[in-house]
């Protein structure tokens, strides 16, 4: 048996602003990870990543990041991905500024 697949989201940085963005199920890029598509199948994840990589003029450096289901949508697993949803810890800049 293959090992169990950890759910993923597709994420990248926006071309102009450079901030973190996530791919939604209906092919939009969102700045809120909770709106992202939670991918639970490895093959589907590869297809979604290929789609994201083809959007090079909007999204830079797309990759698959581990995520888990939360009450209001996908949540990050690793602390690095959690920081990307918020911004730095020394100032209320970045996504937490708007939130």
């Amino acid at each position: 048996m293959s090992r169990q697949f950890t759910p993923k989201v597709v994420t990248a940085n926006a071309l102009i602003e450079g901030d973190a963005i996530w791919l939604t199920e209906d092919d939009r890029w969102t700045r809120d990870i909770r709106e992202a598509e939670l991918i639970e199948d490895e093959a589907h994840g590869q297809l979604r990543l290929l789609h994201a990589l083809s959007q090079d003029s909007v999204a830079v450096g797309a990759y698959l990041a581990d995520a888990k289901p939360g009450e209001r949508g996908p949540e990050p697993v690793h602390f690095r991905e959690a920081f990307r949803t918020r911004g730095p810890s020394n100032y209320a800049h970045g996504k937490q500024e708007v939130a």
Partner: protein
Amino acid sequence: MMYHYNDFDEAFVRGRVAQFRGQVERRIDGSLTEDEFRPLRLMNGLYLQLHAYMLRVAIPYGTLDSRKMRQLAMIADRWDKGYGHFTTRQNIQYNWPALKDVPDILDALADVGMHAIQTSGNTIRNVTADHFAGAAADEVADPRPVAELLRQWSTDHPEFQFLPRKFKIAVTGAEADRAVIRSHDIGIQILRRDGEIGYRVIIGGGLGRTPMVGKVLTDFLPAADLLPYCEAIVSVYNVLGRRDNKYKARVKITVHENGIDAIRDQVNERFALIRPQFSGVDQRMLREIERSFALPSFRPSSRDAFEAARNSDPVFRSWADTNLAAHRRDDHAIVSISLKKHGATPGDATSAQMRLMADLAERHGYDELRISHEQNVILPHVPMGDLPAVHAALKDAGLATANIGLISDIIACPGMDYCALATARSIPIAQEIALRFDELKMEHEVGPLKIKISGCINACGHHHVGHIGILGLDRAGVENYQITLGGDGTETTVIGERAGPGFSADEIVPAIERLVKGYLELREDAGETFLQCYRRLGLGPFKATLYPEARADAA
């Protein structure tokens, strides 16, 4: 005084901005892919980080005047979030520029003779120098003319645009090494022997994954040979340096693998070949550059107001005793402005603070400013009589923290709060340590102690040469902090020793507190610094204070 662009410099920088403007337009309209654009933006100092782009602007040898500093403040307000981050390479980084604005920022920099060229990529990077250059009492010669000559030679040098890896040069003109020259690819120390100026050239130093102390390539290079000799070094490295493995590509590994004697032979061979091509134009240029760094016409100043303030105001006294350094003239002082207020982000300055420092430089410091690799700002020439006024103005701006060289004067890289390469955060650890020791009111009692924090193994925070070094790592998805002890970044450079297992983010500040309190118990008297005490006793007793449970287990 400082070096001003000549017509050639000006045209070159403007040309590069225009070129980059076109590249950004083509990236935004989709004609360039990221793979095509990335090397182009990196050549202009533009990185893509965790939350935004980051623009790294070169401050050659850390020297600024008020006009440049005010322009940096203007850029922070207009295109960023009202602040800038001064780095361990004497540069400034903007953490939030939008891609479309970067060409305008570069034009604004060019307006004051600044740029972001060669602040990234496998090229010769910004040449750094002693931040007390031109002012220090112990200086043989101002290192900046040499640094400027090297900057001109290395900028857009056709042979050195695709080196095996990045290449960093630092220059000092004093025996006391304030420029960390033994941790650079090339470190240059200006010497005077029998009245003659020459250079001690050190190569193969570096921190990062494989920290190494630089080795002396030549003990006294005649002044006129500097440029061909440096060119010979970089040429030999360009051929020998490993391009097969990124982690073995720096010159420190080339020196380590080939041996310093073999490298010296090859450098001498190459030098003999190219030396005749240097007709002396470089030396004439150096003479011209030296005129740009002539000392200001110092105005005599009385020490009376200084002594009076020092005797009557304990806050001024504490600041003066901690943040001033000896100037070449008795009636002047070197002022270190701390960008390390307890709880603040090391190296950050708001636009208002930048403007205030520019005003002070203009009013009280012959219009000169320097950025230190320890992430502070220096007013290199302040008349003694002006110090009370300077202190009062700094105090109002939150810039008068009396902590230079003390435990809260921490070097910290941006870490995972900004950097895409980081494995853990650095800034919050620095903030918490500074706040804790301020709360304990211990830092003046503890005395000289350098803490340096890096958020990954690349060691931008110089942790290996911190008396206490902290390295942030990702251990199974959790931030973990390793401590090294006994490091030293001066003329007696030593790479610190790993103390033992790492600490979690919650445990690291208490661990540092145990260590420092342990040192107070261990030291012979108040005159024995942390580093001296460590050198006398070795790792053992310090390790015992760091890991009390291990000691209990062993008992």
